[in-house]
């Protein structure tokens, strides 16, 4: 046996084994933990900054209640937006009888933007008209909500059944080689930029459907909804497929052993067992459609109309932000209202995610562990 070189010089003693402070170890742990905190911080910051920019709307609401204060406050507003302060004093605040003010508004065109701040009260937000850049801006969110819901509904009517059936096919019926093609192909669809899907909808699908159904407006909720379905399908498919394949083999084997056929087992055993997962998939699909901006911008026609006709143009919440934010004046009411829409979108998708996460996933796990009665 050859002699050691002697790299381990210290002997086994209390001294050599004494706890050593290692700076690199200490720093790396602190830095890594710190950075990991970042993701939480970002979520909190997003909450904070998106909400912060929408807060002035609620402040102006208070103002309407306390009319005395408004006179003092309006000067503040005037300076903020660099509009002649002396004029704002004469202007009426909390305008409701808008029609009679047409001429005055034309004269004080710049000023109306500032004065719009009073229009964005909770009451006016519930209005049926979204006319943010007219002389006399109105910020009714109802048409935007209706448009978003309409398009979400259309998209989900297409996406959910197709994606779930396709997932059932690849999880239960498809031969292995086919599954190995379908799954990655649909995953690749998830990677298609939404602007590409939007472009395809705008240039190809819109004309195709127009020829097929013979309606007037090329761009409408139907075209947008079908295009959105393309964006939602990969999400619903992937999560549903995962949920279906996670159903324990013993379930299906028990069913097959009782003489059920493959399709009966898939439809009556596997599918029900995976319901919570499928529910989560649909929720996340809804979240995707709800917040999708580019497809909505390009394929829906963007007219803020209220109606149930699927072949009418709509304007969604997300598309409204996308289309208008670049044009607004920082800090004016329109700007704040767009941020308010953003906050609502954020709250909504956050809730959907939390619901899918805590309720559905927990339920799925419990069901398979047999903890549920």
């Amino acid at each position: 046996m050859e002699e050691p070189i002697g790299i381990n010089k210290f002997v086994f003693s209390r001294e050599s084994l004494k706890k050593k402070f290692r700076l690199s170890e200490f720093l790396s742990e602190k830095i890594i933990t710190g950075v990991a905190f970042l993701s939480i911080t970002i979520i909190v910051l997003i909450f904070f900054f998106v909400f912060k920019e929408s807060i002035p709307i609620f402040q102006s609401k208070k103002k309407e209640i306390a009319k005395v204060e408004t006179v003092q406050k309006q000067e503040q507003y005037g300076t903020d937006s660099s509009v002649a302060t002396n004029l704002s004093g004469q202007e009426q605040y909390g305008v409701t009888g808008t029609d009679s003010l047409m001429t005055e508004n034309q004269i004080l065109e710049e000023d109306t933007v500032v004065h719009g701040s009073d229009e964005a009260t909770a009451k006016s937000l519930m209005g049926k008209q979204w006319l943010p850049v007219s002389d006399n801006p109105r910020y009714g969110l109802i048409p935007l909500f209706v448009g978003t819901l309409k398009i979400t509904l259309i998209a989900m009517l297409f996406a959910a059944p197709i994606a779930i059936l396709a997932a059932l096919f690849s999880a239960a019926f498809a031969p292995h080689w086919l599954r190995e093609i379908i799954k990655p192909a649909i995953e690749l669809l998830a990677g298609f930029p939404s602007v590409v899907i939007g472009f395809f909808a705008l240039m190809v699908m819109a004309s195709f459907f127009q020829n097929l159904f013979g309606y007037d407006g090329r761009l409408n909720a139907f075209v947008g909804g079908v295009a959105m379905a393309l964006a939602a399908i990969p999400i619903i498919y992937t999560i549903t497929e995962d949920a279906l394949t996670a159903v324990p083999r013993t379930y299906t084997e028990a069913s097959l052993a009782l003489g059920a056929t493959r399709w009966q087992t898939a439809l009556f055993v596997t599918l029900p067992a995976a319901t919570p997962g499928i529910f989560a998939a649909i929720l996340l699909g809804i979240g995707r459609v709800f917040g999708e901006t580019m497809i909505a911008l390009m394929a829906t026609g963007n007219a803020a109309m209220i109606g149930i006709n699927p072949f009418e143009s709509v304007r969604t919440l997300a598309a409204t932000i996308g289309a208008e934010m670049a044009e607004v004046v920082f800090g004016d009411t329109h700007y704040n209202v767009l941020f308010l829409i953003g906050s609502l979108l954020f709250i909504f998708t956050f809730s959907l995610n939390a619901l899918a996460e805590f309720y559905v996933k927990g339920k799925l796990v419990k069901r398979f562990q047999g903890k549920q009665s």
Partner: protein, 252 residues
Amino acid sequence: MKEIKIKTKNLSLYYGAKMALNSISLDIPEKEVTAFIGPSGCGKSTFLRTLNRMNDLIPNVKITGEVLVDGLNIYDKQIDVVNLRKKVGMVFQKSNPFTKSIYENVAYGPKINGINNRKKLEEIVETSLKNAFIWEEVKDRLHDSAMGLSGGQQQRMCIARALAVEPEIILMDEPASALDPISTAKIEELIFELKKKYTIVIVTHNMQQAARVSDLTAFFYLGELIEFGKTRKIFTTPDKKHTEEYITGRFG
């Protein structure tokens, strides 16, 4: 009897609420081979891993009692685990070379000890590989991936890797369990050589192996130390009926 290198006093270990080792007290002498035998799940590997605090890595493990190495309690709050492991090396059941070259594998330990001189590193690598009886087989392909070695060669390389840090104690967790008879024989021969310089503790489920390589044998059963003594005595005239039953192959 040689000097005592490792001494455990009433060592118990819990996984959560479940007791895995029950009050083990045991003296392991210096520069001899001590074997732990027993049926799988008896706690012999768990016990081995308490000797260099590898169990620290598992969450929810609670340990009571003492492990004294050279008279120092290694579970003392003042003890630096990193330096402890430099003194108490370990060879694992499944050979676990890094996905690096043979040279890089063996030089890993010296490098983290701050040795960067290439000449010195080469020297250490060569010595370690020679001491692990594998130098002749790998000297021409030191910079090939260690994953290309056979199972037996990998395991001897892992021993060389442990030797390169120059520990005083080497813990071996069923080092030959996945190997063919020829590779096993080589490892056993190596253990026999190594004990001249190192204190060796080996876990094995192969009783012939324990009988062949060890000076002392400890029999574990269900987390308890049933019997401990000279290997020859354990294998010929054990005191406990349980030990005899296990050794004669009536259970396990």
